[in-house]
Every structure is written in C-alpha cells, then in structure tokens.
Amino acid sequence: MVKLMSSTETAQKEIVQKEITLNMGPQHPATHGVLRLVLDLQGETVVGCDPRPGYLHRGIEKWMESRTYHQIIPMTDRLEYITCMNNNLGYVVAVEKLAGITVPERAQFIRTLLAELTRLSGHLVWLGTHALDIGAMTVCMYTLRERELILDLTEMVTGARQTVSYVRIGGLRNDVPRDFINKCREFTEIFPKRLEEYDTMIRENRIWLQRTVGIGVFSAEDAVNYGLTGGTLRGSGVNYDLRKVEPYAAYDKVEFEVPLGKNGDVYDRYIVRINEMRQSNRIIKQCLDMMQPGPITTNDARYAIPEKTQVMQNMASLAHQFVLMSKWVPMPKGEVYVATEAPKGELGFYIVSDGSGRPYRIKIRAPSYVHISALPKMVTGHMVADVISCIGTIDIVLGECDR
C-alpha cells in the first residue's frame, strides 16, 4: 500500500533539479521545416542543444552527378524552396564562370531585378513567420499579402509563382512581357508604405523588444568564425555582402547600401533585414530604369540554346538543340567555387568538371546548414521560448540545409 505523505513532509523534502532532455521534434510548427532539436534543459533554461538535421536529405549532390548542367537547374529550385530564383542564379553564375560565358546586359538586369524581387519575397516570409512564432500574428497576414503581389509578378515573367527555373546557362528562358515593367513599377511605389506598416507595428513594441533584444547574441568575431553570412552576420556589424564584394549579374551597376547592426542580437538582425528590404526596392527601381532593349541569351554559339523558331526551320539549330538537351556540350576541365548573396546568406557552388556535359562533383554550400550549426551557441543560457526567437532569426529553410 502506498503511503501518502502529509503536506509538511512534502515541504521538508528537498527539491532536486535534474537536467531533462527535450526533443523538439521534426514535426513542430515553429521550426520552419523538419528540424529536430534535442535540448538539454535545466528547468526552463537551455544548457545544451544538439540539432539533428537530415529529415529532408534527398541526396541532391549525388543526383546532380548524373544529370547535365542544364537539367540541374530545376533541382536548384528545390534547395531553398522559398526564394528559388536566387538558387537558380547562384548555380548558373557558377557554371558560367566555369565555362567562361558572358551574359548580355539586358539579361543581367532582368536577373538582378527578379533576384531582388525574390529576396523581398524571402524576407517577407521570414518576417511573417518569425513574428508569428513570437506571437505577432498580424504581421504574418500583412507580409503574405505583399508576397502575393510579388508572386503575381513572378508568374507574369516566368510562368511559375515559386519554383521558377527561369535562368538558363548563358541567359534567360524568355524576355519579360510588355506589361511587366509598369506592373513592377506600381509595386515599387506601393511597397515602401506597406513596409512601414509592418515595421511600425513591432519595431517599438514592448513585447517584441523584450523577446528580441539581448537574445541570441553573436559577437562579430564569433560570427565570422562560425561561418555566419548574410543578414545573420551583418546583424553583428560585419560589413560583408557578396553583392558588393564580388559583384555578379548587374549589382555593380546599381547603387544600394548594406545595412549593418550593432549588438548582434535578434532585434538587430530584424532591423538589418527590414532595411535590406528597403534597399531591394531601391535596386528594383534602378533596374527598371536602366534596362535597355537587347538580346537575352549569350552569343557564345557553343552554349546558347537556339530559339524555337530557328530550331523548327534551321538544320544546324535543330542539331545543336538536340545535343544541348540530351547530353550538353563538353565543358572545360577544372573546378570553381562561386558564391552569391542569397537572401539567407552565402550560397556557394563548388563545381568540379571532368570535361563532359555532366558535373563530376557539385557541393552546395548552403547558408542554412551553417547557421543551424551556430544555433547551440546562440541558445545556450536562454529559455526554451528564446529558442524559437533564435530559430527565426537565423532564417533557415531546411530544404537547403539538408539538400
């Protein structure tokens, strides 16, 4: 028979605190995908964190070894599946560097324009979900409303809202339609006011400040040593933006600033990304103004995919199209590592070519993978609820983490 203790006996018993291990499992509304965190808790405080990625591992790098350079483009969409245009661009810029292909100016401007639109789209999703996790649900509704406008614009140009596969090696799939320029301009007029709406909602909100200031602090030196890039790094004050350091596409022709933070906490990264959205809007306006009529495919005859009308009428174009689509043309033998500034950070492609039309090895340096590796340092010492703020601030998408 169990002896029940009296209340005085219970009060005299010493309370023993033990560390518990909590599994924040792959199915969780706030982990932005299938991320599994094994947290060691002392009460409510996190003393250890072991992220276990791999739930979305699809073996993309191995699969890419069996496909031609052209066939890989749709797969790069599925890496960071919210801002697909930037992944396409990052991959194609790497292949163009490997083969030494120059892209005409109009194509560069359209690439930059769409890359910045997609950056806006990615940051809007980040802001919406980050705020939603912390509790500010209204922000999510507003940002997704703006994102619909961007997705409409993207669909107008590429035919798809999200997984666009729009960039081609040497240029683009097609030119922008006639009414796109005006619609895009309308968007750039509307967007700053809308951005002010969500910014004023939370920037000086007491609850937001309490949940984000002083949380997840990374010093500048640590941030660089841990491999952080993108907005996560610039929140700590390190001025490193690949669009300025190693310009690609038309980034050396447009003017924009790189916003920096000071303290390296969640709040500073929020400010950095909001300001990045303003700068993206500025870049889009400049691209619309500076774009001139011209070709959108390279004039390098080896790699340029012939136009459909030519393929239907011209024997040489037909043969070339067939070779390109079935086994691609031999590429120079060597290796390149090219990194571009994706919305999440530095997206790098290390391509090893053996001289055939298929890559020998592609390594995708995914910013989300590196940022999750910095999560244990960020959350140790904070409470469980701060883990959610930290996951939101490092801005991850598991598709690119796991590949």
Partner: protein, 156 residues
C-alpha cells in the same frame, strides 16, 4: 591581395609541404600534403596580411572515376575567404583510399565542425581531433558513404 601572392607566401613558409599551385577561371588552388594542414590553416587565419577568418566551405571529392587522374583517391577541399581583405584561396589535400584521415581544423574555424561531419557522413573521410565526429544527414545506423562513386544512385 592577389591570390597568386597568397599561394607564394604559403609556398615560401611551408616549402616541402606544397605540391603546387593551379589556376583556373581566375581562381587559385594550392595543392598541399596533409601533414601540416593545421599549421598552414593557423598561419592563414592569423597572419595579419592574410587574415583568412572565414571558412566558406570544406568538402571532399572522390577522384576514382575522373578520367586521367593519377593521384590519391580523395581530395579534401578548403575554400577560405578573408572578410577583412576580401581575398579568397582554395586549399586541396589528397588523402589515400586505404586510410582516409586528415587533421580536423574545427579548433581553428568553428564552422568546420559541421562541414567535417558531413564530409565524414557522405564521403567517409575521418577527421582526427574532431570533437564529435558522427553522422549528421543520414541516420546513425546507416552503412556506407553515399557520395563515393561506387555507391549506386538509387541505393541498395
């Protein structure tokens, strides 16, 4: 600083451990022997004129099916950047098939920790001195290293 100058600095300081320098598409790779990799990386990180404070990527390539390749089977590749001086360099080290081990640089750049775990997981290269070398993307009880060329694309 021009990447070829960086390569020369490494060659001068660690003569005998550098097998050569290769340039392709304006990018410079330095081929090294694996025994002094930690000293070389420390030199690259701490030397004021180089200040390679950011390890962008650490990966490995399996050269067993590369046409015309005669070296050791695996190549570990380090892509380094300096956020201060804005220059890049690539280090390449070959390791043999029978004993694919190399020193870990996770004490020099913390980001190497997860990159080395992934290289171990998918390619089977062991990193001596790594604090926690276990599989990361695949389940712990997985057998085999999928990125090796003999591993079939659709698995077993």
């Amino acid at each position: 600083m021009d990447p070829l100058q960086i390569a020369k600095m490494i060659e001068e300081k660690f003569a005998g451990h550098v097998q050569g320098t290769a340039t392709f598409a304006e990018q410079v790779s330095v081929l090294l022997i694996k025994d002094k990799i930690k000293e070389i990386c420390l030199f690259l990180r701490d030397e004021p004129s180089l200040k390679m404070d950011h390890l962008a990527d650490l990966t490995a390539v399996d050269f067993s099916r590369y046409p015309g390749d005669t070296g050791l089977r695996f190549e570990v590749v380090y892509n380094l950047i300096s956020t201060v001086h804005r220059h890049r360099i690539r280090l390449k080290v070959r390791v043999p098939e029978e004993d694919p081990r190399i020193d870990s640089v996770s004490s020099i750049w913390q980001t190497a920790n997860w990159h080395e775990r992934e290289t171990y997981d998918l390619m089977g290269i062991k990193f001596d001195g790594h604090p926690d070398l276990r599989r990361i993307l695949l389940p712990e009880d997985w057998e085999g290293h999928p990125l090796r060329k003999e591993y079939p694309l659709k698995g077993y």
